[in-house]
Structures are given as structure tokens and as C-alpha cells.
Symmetry: C2
Subunit: 290 residues, 2 copies
């Protein structure tokens, strides 16, 4: 069993990005600039956004955090989006989800300039990925693809199953895995809440990507010997022994599953850091196109 180490891989990619930033500075060019919009005080959202800002600092990007109170109106948020779209100093930005219920995430998403949508959530970017055209690849699936690439995991002709059909992970992940390039060329099955006999489908899969947010859902009996297991789940479970009061648990029963696999991602330290580094890569690409 080989651990697909997201921290290590993300560090290597961040080092490359940092070197590119140094070259940009040496050439007198402007430094990539990522902005993050955060609404409210959701603990997980705060953690994620802070990690993104910190990652920007590590590679030498400019970063701007726009933190607004929970009661901001949809119109006010749209105005911020329009300012970010028209601000030439911003290469890319993200609007951290979830947004408060009184704001339409869809309306906000569609207002983002696809060229600055470094999360890769805008339909134009999702469509570009589907059609194999240049565009921002949704950050989490992009991170997973790069992790597979970094470790040279074989994918061609493999049976892959993606558990979960979310717009930001499951569906784009399935699209990427079936593409006619490496990593890809998998025979991909998309499974979800209506899927019958998900255990059997997993057992016949060479690659399992679990993205359903159910802690420990994938158990050892669902995984065949030598399978590749990618765990996108990251649920906070109460844990009094931790200073934070919680621990992170993935969708995979790691301790029991890991010994059966050829490659597996840990939680934390697997997909999470790769998502953040992919945001940086998308921002770098957006900056180069400016």
C-alpha cells in the first residue's frame, strides 16, 4: 500500500509555483492575485479560507480576503462580484460555499467571470472541461487528477467508480476520469443515493473515488485487493480529546481499507491540500492569460 500524500505532493507543486512567481518578479511582471469572499462565521469555511490565504502567502501570491457579515444582501454580494470581475488587479477569486440561505448560490455563481472562476464551478468551465477545452478545472477533481499523475497511478482501461454526483466534485471527477488522456481513459461509473447495490459495484472497481460526505461509508468488504481509493470526504466529528473539539473523518474506513489497497489517500492530508494547490494553479494560469 502506498499513501497518496497530498501534503507532500502539494508542497512540491507549491515549490514550482513559488519559483514561477520569483521569475515573474525578476521579469518585472505582476504577481498573481487571488481574492476570497467569505460570508458569515461558519467554522469550517473560516478554516478553508484561511488555509487558502496562507497558501497564497507561501507561494508569493497576493491575496485579498473579503469577509462580510452573515446578513449581507444578495444585491450587495453581487456588487462585490462585479467589482472583482472588473478589477484588473484580481486574477482569480473564490466565493466560499456555503452561502447563507437568503442568497442564491446559483445567481452568484453565474455572475462570476469564468476567466476569474478559479474554483472551476461556473458552467462555462465545467463545459470546457467536459469538451476537453482549456478552462479552469474544478479544483478538487483537478487536485485528484494531479495526485494520480504525481504517483504515476495507472488509469487507462481501469474501472473507476465515483460515489457522489455533486456539481463541484463527483460529476466533474467522472468527466475527467473518462477523458481520452492520462490520467483518464477509465471506464467510469457514477453512483449516488439512488444506486442499487453500491457495495458490489465498488467491489468490481479498480479505482474508487468517495465524495458523499458519509464518514466511514466505504468499508473493507467493499474494496477489492489492489484497488486505488481516493477519499474526498471530510466530516467534522465531535472529539473531546482534541483541542478543536472535533476530528476530521473521511468517507473511507481508512484503517480497515488501507491494507487492501495499492494506493490510498489519507484524511486529512490527502485530497484537501491538493484542492488548495489547484486553486493556486488555476490562479497562475488566469494571471498568465491577463
Amino acid at each position: 500500500m502506498i499513501l497518496l500524500d497530498g501534503n507532500l505532493t502539494a508542497s512540491a507543486i507549491k515549490k514550482e509555483i513559488a519559483e514561477k512567481v520569483q521569475r515573474l518578479i525578476a521579469e518585472g511582471k505582476s504577481v498573481p492575485h487571488l481574492a476570497a469572499v467569505l460570508v458569515g462565521e461558519n467554522g469550517a469555511s473560516l478554516t478553508y479560507v484561511n488555509a487558502k490565504v496562507k497558501a497564497c502567502e507561501e507561494v508569493g501570491f497576493r491575496s485579498t480576503l473579503i469577509h462580510k457579515p452573515e446578513n449581507i444582501s444578495g444585491e450587495e454580494l453581487l456588487e462585490i462580484i462585479e467589482q472583482l470581475n472588473s478589477d484588473p488587479s484580481i486574477d482569480g477569486y473564490i466565493v466560499q460555499q456555503p452561502l447563507p440561505l437568503h442568497i442564491s448560490e446559483q445567481q452568484i455563481l453565474l455572475a462570476i467571470d469564468p476567466a476569474k472562476d478559479v474554483d472551476g464551478f461556473h458552467p462555462e468551465n465545467v463545459g470546457r472541461v467536459a469538451l476537453g477545452l482549456p478552462g479552469h478545472i474544478p479544483a478538487t477533481p483537478y487536485g485528484i487528477i494531479r495526485l494520480l499523475d504525481h504517483y504515476g497511478v495507472e488509469t487507462e482501461g481501469k474501472n473507476a467508480i465515483v460515489l457522489g454526483r455533486s456539481h463541484i466534485v463527483g460529476l466533474p471527477m467522472a468527466i475527467l476520469l473518462q477523458r481520452n488522456e492520462y490520467p483518464g481513459n477509465c471506464t467510469v461509473t457514477i453512483a449516488h443515493s439512488r444506486t442499487k447495490d453500491i457495495a458490489n459495484l465498488c467491489r468490481s472497481s479498480d479505482i474508487i473515488v468517495a465524495a458523499i460526505g458519509k464518514p466511514g461509508f466505504v468499508t473493507a468488504d467493499m474494496v477489492k485487493e489492489g484497488a486505488v481509493v481516493i477519499d474526498v470526504g471530510i466530516t467534522r466529528l465531535p472529539d473531546a480529546s482534541k483541542k478543536s473539539g472535533f476530528r476530521l473523518k473521511g468517507d473511507v474506513d481508512f484503517d480497515a481499507v488501507a491494507p487492501k489497497t495499492s494506493f490510498i489517500t489519507p484524511v486529512p492530508g490527502g485530497v484537501g491540500p491538493m484542492t488548495i494547490v489547484s486553486l493556486l494553479s488555476n490562479t497562475l494560469i488566469a494571471s498568465a492569460k491577463r
Copy 2:
């Protein structure tokens, strides 16, 4: 076995569209207008474009055929696209594929205004379909979905396999079949040229959509009793006994497969007419948004 009759279903939908056109006329509103751009003299392309123009006439749409010689330059074709984009009298248009090799299909596709892209090939439309947002659904998958709907074919929780990952049929078909609505909620597998043991995967599928362009590829031994079989293939095979010199053959060995199925589409008269009627529906929607 029930035949999924595309001619009959398309006729019923065309009748509804024709009634809507009559109402638009009665209300003094403008009639939907579809334009088709055809380059060169490819026999199949001529047939398809003529069928689309004829369908427009049947429902009372305006139609415009722009037929250009094989040696038109990419720049000239782009100028036509720009004219069509800016012409307020055109609700939607298609650029018949394939284009001559000296013209970039991708460049032409990206130049089409997504709002007028009634084929549903533009990345913004593909992405909107993936994200469940309003947009033009690629015409062939849209036609198949409506055929399943018209016959009330059960799809929820079914295992569906899509053979072929083309941008205009296979991939959007897979995306539609997995969506959380009817027809959809299938567990979808996307199979393609790199897929191993495609016969076995088909045998465990409740719904098979064949879109690979290999005549007679799906044989009876690959289909389980009671399966639903959708045949998107339409290959012209030489046939001296026909006036045209050819006959149309689908991807499915119809005579042997049909008795095992619960529902099956014929070729011709299955998916083809549904594709054309979906173009009309997309044009009607585009017209209503004007």
C-alpha cells in the same frame, strides 16, 4: 418488446410546437427562426440539413439555409457566425458537422452565441446541462430523454451504460441519465474504446445507449432480458438494392436483440427524428427568451 417510435413521438411533439407557433402568430408575435449553415456537399450532411429545414416548415418556423462551398475559409465562416449572432431575426442556428479539415470546428463552436446554439454543443450549454441550469440541451441526448419520457420508461436506480464518449452524444447523454430528475437517476457507466469487457458490462445493464458508429456492434448475447436499448448509430452501408445505393444501419443488431428487450429504438425512425425535433424545441425556447 415495445418499439420506441421516434417518428411517432417526434410527430406528436411537432404538432404541439406547430400549435404554439399558431398561437404566436395569433398574438402578433414573431415566428421562431432557425438557420442552418452547411459547408460542402457531403451527402449525409445534405440529407440531415434538408430534414431540419423540412421540419421547420412543418411546424411553421422560418428557416434559412446558408450553403457555402467546400473551399470557404475559416475567416469567412467566422464572419457568417458573427452575422448570425448579431442578427436579431435569427433565434437559433446550427453549423452542420463535419466541417472541412482546413476549418477548426472548435474555433467555430466557440464563436457561436450560446443563446443561439440550438445544437447544444457550446461548452456553456454543456456545462449548464451538467449543473442542472437552464440551457440548450445537446439535441440528440435531449431527444433520447424525451423518447424515454414519452414512453414512460422507468429509469430511477437503473444501471445504464453509454457506449461512446463523444462530446455531442455519449458524454452529455451520461450526464443527463445521472441527473436527479426523471428521466434520470440512473447509475451511469461511460464506456469507450479503452473499456475492457464491454460485453459483460452491457449484460449487467438495464439501459444501453449505443453511440459508437459501429454497425451491429451490440449483439444479442450482450443484452439481458428486458433491457432498454437505444441505438444512436446511423451508418450508411452500401446496398445496391436501394435507389440511394445505401441502407442505414445502427450500432445494434436489431433483429436479434429486439426480442430480448422491453423497449428498443429502430434505425432509422428512432433517435434521428427525435434529434431534429429537439432542435426545434431548443429554437422555440430561444425564441421565447428573445
